[in-house]
Each structure stands twice: as C-alpha cells, then as structure tokens.
C-alpha cells in the first residue's frame, strides 16, 4: 500500500509538469507580440524592447518554458498585468472562498447522489426509481448557469428567503452550492444505482439472502459497501467538473472566488492571472485525484486480488 502511494505520487509529477507545459504552450497561442500587449497601447519602441529584455521574451521558447517552470516551483506565478501584484497573492485571497463553495457542493453531490441512487436501486423499475432517475436525467441536462438563475429567481426574488448574491453568511452558500453540486449529484445517483443493481446480482448477495438476513441489512451492509467502491472514482472525476463549474456559479452569484477571478482576468486580458488561476485549479484537481486513487485502492484491494 505504501509502495502504491509512493508510486502514485511519483506518477503525478510528470502530469504536473505536463500541465505547466500545456498552460505555458496555450499562452504562446496569443496572437501578436506579448511585449506589445504588456506595454499597452502607444508605448514606445524602447519600452517594448525593455519589457522584452526584462521578461526574457527574446530567449528561445524552451528556455522561456524552463524559466517559467522553475518560477512555478518557486511559487512565483508572475504578476498581474492590471495591478502588478503577484498572481499567487491574489489566488491565495480567493482560494478559501472557492474551497468553501466546492466543499459544500461536493457534500451535496455525494450525499444527495448516493442517497438518490440507493433509493432507486432498492426498488428498481418502481415509480420511485423512475421518478428519481428522471430527476437525475434532468440534473445532467440542465445548464448550471440557467439552473442557478432560476433558483435565484424563485428563492431570492419571488420567495425572498435567500440572499440574491454575495458571500457573507452560510445562507449565501445554499443556492450556489446546490447549483454547483446538482449536476454531480445526478451523475453519482445514476452511477450508484447501476452499481447497486450490478452488486445485487452477485452470488454473495444470494448467500446473504439464504442466511435469512433482512432486506435492509442485505442492502446496507452487504450490497452498499461493494457498490460504493466504483462510485468513489466517479466522485473524484466529478470534483474536476465541479472545480470547472465554479467559474460559472461564482459569476452568477457574484462570489469573489478563484473561478470568477479567472473569468474577470480573461475579460481584462490579464494573461498571467488566467495562467496562474488555471494552473492552480488544475494542481488542486491532480492532488484530489491522487487522494481518490489511494482511497479507491484501499477499498478495492481485496476485490482486485480475487
């Protein structure tokens, strides 16, 4: 197990380097001369040349990338083009907000998703099952940005029981967390259901029945533990979608998190900020995936050895 964790950590290093490479490479796609862009309109040739010199833009690309990589590992993600503040400082201010939002959303994804999946699987093809799965189908089909607006309309505008936007109290968390967690919950519900139905067909469930156990114990003790193992992976993947989704949800609910920072930065052509934000979010995702894999392995080892 320890070996597995070590090997898995070693495996993420090339992925992280790959991510930095892709982020660096994408920024090379920017049309025009970055020095001109940085200097702003109407800058003199000398200024542009000075910027080029200062940032090493006249070096070959691979040297530029190498420098970028070293800087990243030193924690230097560059400075914002708008206020010349270090990108990392801004990220660290925004990060706790996004983490809080992501935390509540993933809780909704897991708890709501698994509960719905189990309820469905217990009585497959029943009215409950069909209704739950229909709602789950809607869950994966509704655009989060529209769903969020509609929630806002009903709960904040019509019923006026929840705040419209902002991030001051726990009440502010409810709508964004539901908006962000709903899609994942729908996917987890579908996965939990199909996994449960698969497990219920297994021989050991028949053994449990032959033992005279109550249906409830068969479901929760014998089936669920086995059924949830593959769901762990799905939850891990959903966390990625969820991190990406913060971009939309934070924009809708005017939450000053990492996602909104990236969108604002794109609008203002603040490329180092975009680069830093995307890189940081990806690193979080890579680390979360690492944990999910270890977790999965821990629960799955006995099955794989069979």
């Amino acid at each position: 197990m320890l070996m597995f964790i070590l090997r898995r950590i070693l495996q993420t290093i090339p992925v992280i380097i790959g991510v930095t490479f892709v982020v660096f490479f994408i920024m090379q796609l920017v049309p025009g001369d970055p020095a001109v862009l940085l200097a702003g309109e109407g800058a003199s040739k000398e200024t542009i040349e000075a910027i080029r010199e200062q940032l090493g833009l006249n070096q070959p690309l691979y040297i530029q990338y190498f420098e970028y990589l070293t800087n990243v590992f030193k924690g230097d993600l560059g400075v914002s083009l708008k206020n010349s503040q270090p990108v990392l400082d801004e990220i660290l201010v925004r990060l706790p907000i996004t983490i809080e939002l992501a935390f509540f959303s993933i809780i909704i994804t897991i708890v709501l998703g698994m509960a719905a999946g189990i309820i469905s699987a217990v009585k497959p093809y029943s009215l409950t099952d069909v209704s739950v799965m229909l709602v789950a189908l809607l869950g994966i089909s509704l655009p989060s940005f529209w769903f969020g607006l509609m929630l806002m309309y009903f709960f904040s505008v019509k019923l006026q029981i929840l705040p419209v936007a902002g991030w001051d109290s726990l009440l502010h968390v409810i709508l964004p967390a539901i908006t962000l967690g709903a899609g994942g919950a729908a996917i987890v519900a579908r996965m939990t259901r199909s996994s449960m139905l698969e497990v219920i067909r297994q021989d050991y469930i028949r053994t449990a029945r032959a033992k005279g156990l109550r249906e409830r114990i068969i479901i929760y003790k014998h089936a669920l533990r086995n059924a949830l193992i593959p769901v762990i992976t799905v939850v891990g993947l959903q966390f990625g979608a969820l991190l990406g989704g913060t971009v939309l949800v934070e924009s809708i609910f005017a939450i000053n998190g990492l996602g909104r920072m990236i969108v604002d930065a794109i609008r203002m052509r603040d490329l180092p900020m975009v680069q830093g934000g995307v890189l940081f979010a990806s690193l979080i995702f890579v680390v979360v995936n690492l944990f999910v894999d270890v977790f999965y392995r821990f629960f799955n080892k006995r099955i794989e050895l069979n």
């Binding site: 992925v15 790959g18 049309p31 089909s141 309309y153 971009v247 924009s251 794109i266 490329l271 990806s282």
Partner: protein
C-alpha cells in the same frame, strides 16, 4: 457473433458489431432502438430541433435582430409567444435562429474533438508500446484540467469568439474520445481475423481504417452523442460568460446572459433560452443512453 468491448469508462460498455450482414445488423439495431421508448423520445427531440434550425427563417415570426423599443420587455403574449427582450426583439424568433448557432457549435466541437481523438486513440491502441505511452500520457495531462478550465485557458489565449469556443470545447473532448477509441481498438486488435488480414499483407493503414475503425464505431457514436450534450452545455456556458458569441447574437448562452440583468423584472428573457438548451441536452442524453443500451448486449434479455 458479437464481441463485447469494454472501454475504460465504467458507464460505457458497448459491443462492436462483427459478423452478420450489414442490413441485418442495422435492422436489429434500429428495432432495439425503437423498442427503447426513451431513446425514441430523445431522437424525436433532436429531430424537432434540427428542423427548427433548418427552417428558422420560415418559422420565425419576426427578425431575430430587429429592435423595437416600443415593445421592449413585454411578457409572453399572443403576439410574442415568449415575450420580447430589453430591445424589443422577439425571443421566440431569436431562439429559433439561435438553435443554428448553439447546435452548430456543439456539432462542430464534437466533430473536431472526435476527429483528433479517434486518430490518437487508433494510433495509440494499434501501435501500443511507446507510441501508446506518449499519446495517452498527453491525454492524461489534458484530463488533468478540471472541467471547462482547459477550454477557458484556450479562449483566454485566442480571444473570445464563437469559433474559438468551438476549438476550445472540441479540444476538451479529444482525450475522452482517444481513451474510448484506444480501449476498443485494443479489443478488436486481439481478434484473430485481424491477424489473418495482416498475414495477407494488408498495410497498417488499411487494417486501421478498413478493418478496425468500422468495428469500433458503436462506442464512438455513443460517446459522440453524449459528448454533444456536454459540448452544447459548455459552449453555451462560455457564451454566457461573455467568452463566446457576442451580443446581439441570438446564441442561447448569450441571450441568457443578457436576460440575467432583467431577472427581477422580466424573468422570461432568461427562462426560454435556458429551457431551449435544457430540452435539447436532455434529448441528446436520453438518446445517448438509449444508443448505449441498444449496443450493449448486457441490457438485452
């Protein structure tokens, strides 16, 4: 004879269609699909939307761009079934025209993603060894970006526009297609008849495109349909953020975005484009599920 192909995605286990005459296979497939009522409903939704897009100029009661400030922000009525927006434009007409943009972007992005993904997946699966390792590690890196952030980074570099959204959303589907195609290719490659063809002196190119590719079409089609749903959602989302189509374009995400300023006074501006997206995406999702079940021998009794 059917051979089940297990792809790496837990949700998609699809058999490839080998043996039997082409007609009998297609007949079998269509009858399974029609028996699946949900899939049929999905197909109908998609067809209706396609017709909407094709005949938008005939169906639309007004011009999608014509500003009529005297009739701005009118709620749904007999004249304007879905009301008018802040510039007095007819929302129904805009949605009809917008279907061309929103669906067009989705289809283009998936085609783009499928094209590169299929090539990468076929090459990786067929040649194996270091080629496989390099390609699939590249795909892993692309998948390491959470959700639409990769698309966002690409747009940040290329600049906001509908074309760039297409490229960005397409790029984001490449690794998903590559994984599925690689998995299926590995399965098909193991079949004896591929060895037989190779011993007859067929070139790699012929084996890959004439013999392997047709046999892995079903997982690709299923994945493509389900990806369409996601692609349409992502593209609309990016336009909603102002990173894709720009006003006054009737693209649905853009319409939603402008409607959000009037959520208090005129919620219908945001309501209808969102419904349009939701129903279409629902259509693709249930059609995709149905396709998967029709291709999947485990689901048959």
């Amino acid at each position: 004879m059917t051979v089940q192909v297990k792809t790496e995605q837990p949700d998609i286990a699809v058999k490839t269609l080998i043996g039997g005459t082409k007609e009998s296979r297609i007949k079998d497939f269509i009858s399974t699909l029609i028996q699946n009522k949900a899939a049929l409903a999905g197909a109908i939704i998609i067809i209706v939307y396609l017709l909407m897009a094709a005949f938008a100029p005939l169906l639309a009661p007004y011009s999608p761009y014509e500003i009529d400030l005297e009739n701005k922000l009118t709620p749904p009525s007999a004249d304007h079934w879905m009301g008018t927006d802040d510039k007095g434009r007819d929302i129904l007409s805009r949605i009809l025209y917008g279907s061309r943009l929103s669906m067009g972007v989705g289809f283009a992005a998936v085609l783009f993603g499928a094209f590169f993904g299929i090539i990468f997946g076929l090459v990786a699966g067929f040649y194996g060894k270091w080629v496989d390792t390099i390609i699939m590690r590249m795909m892993d890196v692309m998948l390491a970006f959470p959700g639409i952030l990769l698309a966002l980074a690409i747009i940040a570099a290329l600049g906001p526009s509908l074309i760039n959204v297409t490229i960005a959303v397409g790029a984001f589907s490449v690794p998903l297609f590559a994984r599925i195609v690689r998995g299926s290719t590995l399965e098909v490659k193991r079949l004896e008849y591929i060895d037989a063809i190779r011993s007859l002196g067929a070139s790699d190119f012929v084996i890959i495109f004439k013999h392997i590719f047709p046999n892995i079409l079903s997982p690709i089609i299923v994945q493509g349909t389900l990806r369409l749903a996601t692609a349409i959602l992502s593209a609309a989302g990016l336009s909603f953020l102002g990173l894709g189509a720009q006003p006054p374009s009737p693209e649905w995400g853009t319409m939603l975005s402008s409607g959000r300023d009037f959520l208090f006074s005129a919620p219908y501006i945001a309501l209808f484009p969102g419904l349009a997206i939701s129903i279409l995406v629902l259509g693709f999702n249930i059609f995709g599920d149905g396709l998967r079940d029709a291709f999947d021998p485990r689901m048959k009794k």
